[in-house]
Amino acid sequence: MNAGILALRVDGIEAGRQRTRRLRFLTYAVILIAVAWSIEVIVVRDTDWTRITLKSLLESALRFTQLDTSVVPELWKPALETVVMATLATVVGLVMSIPVAWLGAANITPFGKSSYAFGRFLMTMSRSVHEIVWGLIFVSAVGLGALAGVLAMAVRSIGFISKTIAEAIEDVDPKPLEAIRAAGGTKFQILWFAILPQIIPVFVGNMIFEWDINIRRSTIMGLVGAGGLGLLLFRQMAMSNYGGIAVVILAVLALIILGEVASHYARRAVI
């Protein structure tokens, strides 16, 4: 390439890079303006700023600091119930997730596009309904109590667990599958020996993660009468007992920290 052509091409490249750069800046600017506008509309304009003073903020914060320890003896049973509910819901959700993942993984779905679409529909359905709404549905179906909470969380768990399993199945390395197929393996053997070992880490990791999330969920299921600590929280709120609310929130926090620690060790042990 002689010097003239080189200079010409460099100018062309430079101009092209400048164009993409401008386009990129423009995109950033548009995003920035959109964010600023959203803040203006939903936060700045929609808030009664005269109502908020430093004094009112401090006062409402202070209300929560006078802990009401008389609530403590009532905590133990629902706290235990919360953990048991979360664990049960995760296991039940997992069992229900396996067939859904099987349907919703494009590379192994049994009846082509129709079963794939059905699997994906189930996943979306599970995720698009809030756990509190699932809770309401199951409370009206099986009555008040922990069973409704477990079912609500289990159904809500399907969405995440089956989606991640299905995507892990779609992303497996096809080489081991080829080897098992070449050795004369059946479809089930391919699934068991070539796909399963590859998705186990994702599978276990996400299950622990979902359990962790379910502990959080089960602390609020009581709001709709579906058992656990939420019921206690709801009662304290109804009585406007801020000290009691604070104690229940601290208990929830303690449970979540415990769950965090437990999932950390579980993850290390399994993966």
Binding site: M1, L6, A7, R9, V10, I13, E14, R17, R21
Partner: protein
């Protein structure tokens, strides 16, 4: 002639396992060294100690008279700009274009803000284009790196190393991911470019034939120790048996 690289009694590894057990050699300005040896002999560790991608335990690495092991991290970073590296698996950024991959070799000279905005100087772009033309890829500059064949990808890797204007090239198994014909083409290109730009080369290579055909001097490593150091002509069956610790047919 002053040595470009002087390695003295280099040791590396962990407490339980020593990988390099005291290796010394001297690389002159026009040298093209091949480091050969069985898997696990410490070839890759040796080359990575030179630019401190692997932190050695003790010894000296004099690069144009500067002891690299005594440098702080910011000082070492500045020295790394003078040392180009070519990798076994090419180590390209797959989602970026060929041009941006080559330009990434200038990152050591480009400020953080400018690099985020991908504002490389016009000189850098001109140099990138010249090098891409030299390695035969000037028609592919806008392609994404993952669209290229193995040989082409390694050529991008070579151009990326050269745009640093390096005073030394570290080459780590450049042909292991390539077929025999492309391997020879890539080795030929590296040798030609080394001569053209007067850059000495330290090259790991497990293929003894390629080592002998392309390099001026061979270092044989076995289990962290240097077992051979001489021109390819002296590398006979006895020497190979010694390096690989087995019968050579």
């Amino acid at each position: 002639m002053q040595a470009v690289l002087e390695v003295k009694d280099l040791r590396a590894g962990y407490a339980e396992r020593e990988i390099l057990k005291g290796v010394s050699f001297t690389l002159g300005p026009d040298d093209f060294f091949a480091v050969i040896g069985p898997s696990g002999a410490g070839k890759s560790t040796l080359i990575r100690c030179v630019n401190r991608l692997v932190e050695p335990k003790s010894g000296q690495i004099l690069f144009n008279g500067v002891d690299l092991l005594k440098l702080s991290y910011p000082e070492m970073r500045l020295q790394r700009r003078n040392i180009g590296m070519i990798f076994q698996e090419f180590n390209l950024i797959e989602r970026l274009s060929v041009m941006d991959n080559v330009l990434s070799g200038r990152l050591g000279y480009t400020g953080t803000l400018r690099s985020i905005l991908r504002m490389y100087t016009k000189d850098d772009i001109a140099q990138a284009l010249r090098l891409l033309d030299r390695v035969g890829l000037s028609e592919h500059i806008d392609k994404r790196a993952d669209r290229l064949s193995g040989g082409q990808r390694q050529r991008v890797g070579i151009a990326r190393a050269l745009i640093q204007n390096p005073k030394l090239l570290l080459v780590d198994e450049p042909t292991s991911s390539l077929d025999p014909k492309i391997s020879r083409e890539v080795m030929t290109l590296i040798r030609e470019i080394a001569a053209e730009f007067h850059i000495p080369v330290l090259c790991n290579i497990h293929d003894v034939d390629l080592a002998c055909d392309f390099c001026t001097r061979v270092i044989g490593l076995q289990d962290g120790l240097k077992r051979f150091d001489g021109p390819p002509a002296e590398l006979d069956k006895a020497a190979l048996r010694d390096i690989y610790a087995m019968e050579v047919l």
